[in-house]
């Protein structure tokens, strides 16, 4: 379970900062304890966990964005996610947030496909996690990557 948990945290860290990702995974595990799926075979449980983690993460990301917008209107010039950091840490965080901002513009399905794929999950695992036919994964991934590239190329800056 520890390894599974780390993989989930890594997946969710594509949506949220690490500490929040840990909270999300914790919440998903708590929910698992109360859900009948916990009695199912391991692959089903793992798929369920990935799905719930992503949904919780997307919801939390949306809530945080809403809150930040309102807080900004309250007098803070901008809500950076990290106040004081060394250059390299700052730039890394900036880059991550820039990628997240692009992902935010995509549909949840496209976001989930990209996060799962580049977190190292197989097409079979993606299919089970997203409840889509295995034969559709390739086309969905291609569309998601294309949408990502379009948004990326609309950005006035370089992510590096």
């Amino acid at each position: 379970m520890a390894q599974q948990r780390r993989r989930l945290e890594r997946l969710v860290a594509g949506v949220l900062d690490r500490s929040e990702a840990e909270d999300v995974v914790q919440e998903a595990l708590i929910r698992l304890g109360a859900d009948p799926v916990r009695h199912r075979p391991y692959p089903e449980v793992a798929s369920w966990l990935r799905r719930v983690c992503l949904n919780l993460a997307f919801n939390r990301r949306r809530d945080l964005a809403r809150w930040r917008q309102r807080a900004v209107r309250g007098g803070a010039p901008e809500l950076a996610s990290r106040p004081h950091q060394p250059d390299e840490v700052w730039m890394a965080a900036e880059n991550r947030e820039a990628v997240r901002a692009i992902l935010d513009t995509l549909s949840e399905r496209h976001r989930a496909v990209l996060l799962l794929r580049y977190s190292g999950y197989s097409y079979a695992e993606m299919s089970a996690s997203l409840e889509m036919p295995l034969s559709s994964v390739g086309a969905t991934l291609a569309r998601a990557e294309s949408a990502f590239r379009n948004r990326y190329e609309e950005q006035p800056h370089d992510l590096s």
Partner: protein, 339 residues
């Protein structure tokens, strides 16, 4: 051979499916070759960018080193305008202003700082979301006008002239209305196991916040506002309906589940009828009340992004100044408060 579709080629690139004689097919089929080349380029870009995200180090430690590049957010105008106009009343964790909730029938005369963490903000927002329906928007899109003089004429507001390079914009008046829904409130109280009863008249009660027309003057650099000043006429709030404002306030403060620290700060505001609670996200910003030329001013610092000042003038006008150079922002705030 029939051409494989895009999904099959994409899966083939990931070695997730087999394509018979792929290299031979690509050698003779121009459209498939072009498609695969495009898929490769696109997936390479996605892979590189996603690696920035998914290979992140864990738990970034905060330090006291100020080393981030000073700059404004890419959201640019809208954010700058929001800051500069000082529409703090709209700043709530989830779009429901504490200001809306705890003010009534009075003009905003001062700000009171309420510090809260992201978790507390999210929790507070979740609860406020359960109370009813919000109509209206806090901030419309700024519309650029020709000059400061034109903005003055349109809004009646006194505005500083920041020079020929400044951009000037007008923001239309807005009204937000929070109408309570006793069914929603009741189900929330039940879920929380609360024995509290729903106050009589809650269903017919609404809180209304009105912001008159506002204007913004900004200097920009590389498309980013670097120094912004904004003004709005007096912000007014009202409680519409049968409930007494003080009773409504007590009911809201007693709602179960609200973060204790936030409730304590709100309850301690001495003159809640004319004060505007200004939420400060302690995770990313700091704020303080300072005296500038005898005027009580709220200062907000967001490291890496700049400093803002916001205050309410005796006639109710709300003024905000923000800049990525703290000294420049302070100088402008001093100049404006001295008028």
């Amino acid at each position: 051979m029939t051409c494989p579709d895009v999904g099959v080629w994409r899966a083939w690139l990931d070695e997730e499916t087999a394509v018979p004689g792929p290299e031979e097919h690509l050698a003779v089929c121009g459209s498939c070759a072009a498609m695969v080349a495009e898929l490769r380029t696109t997936s390479d870009l996605a892979r590189r960018q996603m690696a920035l995200l998914l290979s992140q180090p864990v738990s970034v430690e905060r330090t006291s080193v100020q080393s981030a590049r000073q700059r404004w957010p890419r959201r640019g105008w809208k954010v700058a305008a929001a800051v500069a106009v000082g529409v703090a009343l709209m700043a709530t964790p989830t779009g429901r202003a504490w200001g809306e909730t705890f003010l009534s029938q009075f003009r905003v005369e001062r700000f009171d700082l309420v510090t809260l963490s992201a978790v507390e903000a999210a929790r507070t927002g979740e609860i406020l979301d359960r109370l009813g329906e919000v109509e209206g928007t806090p901030l419309s899109e700024p519309e650029v006008v020709e000059s400061v003089a034109a903005a003055r004429q349109e809004t009646g507001l006194s505005l500083p002239d920041l020079g020929p390079d400044a951009t000037v914009a007008v923001i239309e008046a807005s009204e937000m209305r929070l109408g309570f829904d006793s069914d929603e409130v009741g189900s929330y109280l039940t879920e929380e196991g609360s024995a509290s009863s729903i106050p009589e008249g809650l269903d017919e009660t609404a809180i209304i916040v009105r912001r008159p027309v506002a204007a913004v003057v900004a200097l920009e650099e590389d498309g980013r506002p670097t120094l912004v000043v904004g003004r709005s006429g007096p912000i007014e709030t009202a409680v519409e309906g049968p409930m007494d404002p003080e009773r409504l306030r007590r009911f809201l403060l007693d709602l179960p589940g609200l973060p204790e620290g936030v409730v304590a700060q709100l309850a301690a505001i001495p003159d809640w009828r004319s004060s505007l609670p200004l939420p400060i996200p302690v995770d990313v910003a700091s704020a303080s009340t300072v005296d500038i030329g005898g005027v009580e001013v709220t200062r907000v610092d967001v490291p890496g992004f700049g400093t803002g000042y916001v205050w309410v003038e005796p006639d109710g006008t709300v003024t905000g100044v923000a800049g990525d150079d703290p000294a420049e922002a302070l100088a402008l705030a001093q100049q404006l408060t001295a008028r």
